[in-house]
Point group: C2
Chain length 380, copies 2
């Protein structure tokens, strides 16, 4: 049987309460006593029972990480692994544990109510993807602290995201600057907010330069390599000279299709992806892509969630993490001189901040107001 507070108390000649105080770093304990107790604890390698602690304190230091499995099958995509890793590391660093739910549709209803009411979890990180995810609504209506990875289209909830619109706009502008005229895009699934935002950015970029939207050059993918491959195959007959894929995995698929069609990259078709996942640099040619710091976002989610848990009733937080266009010359680089003279300056009306600089925004990122970006104040 495992040791208890009582055991430690007896062994160190104090009361249970004092041991509890020592463990919880309560200042009301004489240094001498503290050391004595601490020694016994170390000696016996005592670990307080978390279930009991949870019961008594109403707090478990456990965070739930929920990933809808309708989306999670994309495990050939490093996105979720990286997110999990980021969350896990941050939890370790903050003395929390992570409970993982890959919420399969069939179990979803049971799962969500379990999470909310079983008293085992202090808060939830939800990698929501679907625009109308019922889990988000359930959480929003409950008292459970939670934070989304990826903004929500309508509800005012806590979230961490990159500014997908801005980032995609920037990525598309990169292609426009190369005088690409027939820029295709392979989007993510319609019902996901990230897909929507990235498509909006693409549209805005075209609009910025008065380029027409060619609807035959817009195709919906499913984030997978096979999907990108299939989409590109259907795109090729329409002779695009560039393609913006909403993630790197689809971009890789597109590259395969382009090669098979005997077209050259980037001479015939330039390719730009999104994510900068580990092997974006290993495609042939290396992929130009929009980097988002997925692991950092996971970590930031943890820290913010803990902050929310510690300060209930505080304002809702919307945190935007900066992205960075990673130009790998061979894949999405300039192939012709700019037509006009103004292409040398960045056509986007703001500077992309460096990737490791985290920013907080209070508004909706869809709003056109780069100035509300503020440096995030930690532990504020």
């Amino acid at each position: 049987m495992a040791l208890t507070l009582e055991d430690i108390a007896r062994l160190s000649g104090v009361s249970r309460s004092t041991v509890s105080r020592v463990i919880n770093a309560n200042s009301n304990v004489k240094e001498e006593t503290r050391q004595k107790v601490l020694k016994v604890i170390q000696n016996k390698n005592f670990q307080p029972n978390l279930a009991a602690r949870g019961l008594a304190a109403g707090r478990t230091n456990i965070i739930g990480l929920v990933i809808p499995a309708g989306v999670a099958f994309i495990f050939t995509d490093p996105y979720f692994p990286l997110l999990i890793q980021g969350v896990s590391e941050a939890c370790n660093a903050h003395d929390h544990s992570v409970m993982l739910w890959l919420a399969e549709p069939e179990y979803e209803r049971r799962t969500i109510s379990q999470i909310l009411h079983n008293g085992l979890v202090d808060g939830v990180i939800l990698s929501s993807a679907l625009m109308d995810d019922p889990i988000v609504k359930s959480l929003h209506e409950s008292k459970m602290p939670f934070i989304l990875i990826g903004r929500h289209p309508t509800l005012e909830v806590n979230y961490i995201d990159v500014d997908n619109i801005r980032a995609s706009r920037e990525a598309t502008h990169h292609l426009i600057r190369q005088s690409r005229k027939r820029i295709a895009t392979i989007t993510g699934p319609h019902n996901q907010i990230a897909s929507y935002d990235r498509y909006q950015g693409y549209l805005k970029a075209l609009n910025d330069r008065n380029l027409p939207l060619l609807s035959e050059l817009v195709l919906e993918g499913d984030w997978t390599e096979a999907g990108g491959y299939a989409a590109m195959n259907r795109l090729i007959p329409y002779k695009p000279d560039a393609v913006f894929a909403a993630n790197d995995v689809m971009a890789a698929g597109a590259i395969s299709a382009i090669h098979e069609a005997q077209l050259r990259i980037p001479e015939d078709v330039a390719v730009v992806g999104f994510d900068d996942t580990p092997n974006a640099s290993r495609t042939q040619p290396p992929l130009t892509t929009m980097r988002q710091p997925i692991q950092s976002m996971g970590a930031l989610a943890v820290e913010t969630l803990i902050d929310i848990i510690d300060h209930p009733g505080s304002d809702s937080r919307s945190i935007l993490v900066a992205t960075e266009l990673v130009i790998r010359e061979s894949c999405g680089a300039l192939i012709s001189k700019p037509e006009g003279g103004d292409e040398s300056k960045n056509p986007v009306d703001y500077q992309i901040p460096p990737v490791n600089q985290l920013h907080q925004s209070v508004g909706n990122p869809a709003d056109e107001n780069p100035n509300i970006l503020r440096r995030r104040v930690k532990n504020a």
Copy 2:
């Protein structure tokens, strides 16, 4: 505040114990009462507090999944995601939750003792990899039920694994049958049991056919694509006509290197991998590989662990899951007629069972006794 047993009891006009009985499917309760209580529970969407349940019953229905992070950085490899998915799904299906620990070296010591003693976890699935992993020893010395994914070289512990030796031997035989004479291998890291076993299988295959071991054709990789690429580059000067990579990701790296050296696959160099990860079929040419059902192994681990938890003191289990050589003609296929006449029959002295058939073995898989493979008796 969340509802409690007491609330439900009051609402349905019975005692707390009766409600508890209903929830725990105790047979000693009148059907009528049962229905009555059940209705209130459904109605109020009551969820018992798991912390309290854990405290009282000494069981939480939570399973810990521990992945050493020294290994987990390989998240560009779908292995761990697939494993996590398999474990998670099985846990859902069995009404358990999964607690995830990506055990980083710095936190390892604290982590392990937390897992063992915090009373939050009924048992642990450990994706051990290192031969001398201290976590395994800690677990082995503790009373915590646990199961390894991947056998342990010395300790007699519960594990799930594929027969790596046998599988690699089979894979290598496939190359030998093509009259390949200079068969290279890219192994995993030395200190991992899977690497060791797969290398042993390679050695046995050479030995089976009296082929010499050419030490310049053996190189240690690190499971990553970059590692496979680098290893292959160093291998090429020694003119191998085939290479067996200990996993698909390294095989993909090797393919890149071979292409860059202007060599043809499989005419000049045949390639065989291990795992059959989702995009093994998407390499150019498609990869011939040894399939292991990673997700199934995760699920089987969960079921076995629950069984162990339910029946403490039972014998230790060693379960081997069958593998299957997936021959994709273009990558590791025959390029020349067999030299002798006996190559037509399988040189390995046993049939590889179909992949979805799970088997149990009592002995050490390193032992040469295919006959001890038995169908696993479920719920036995």
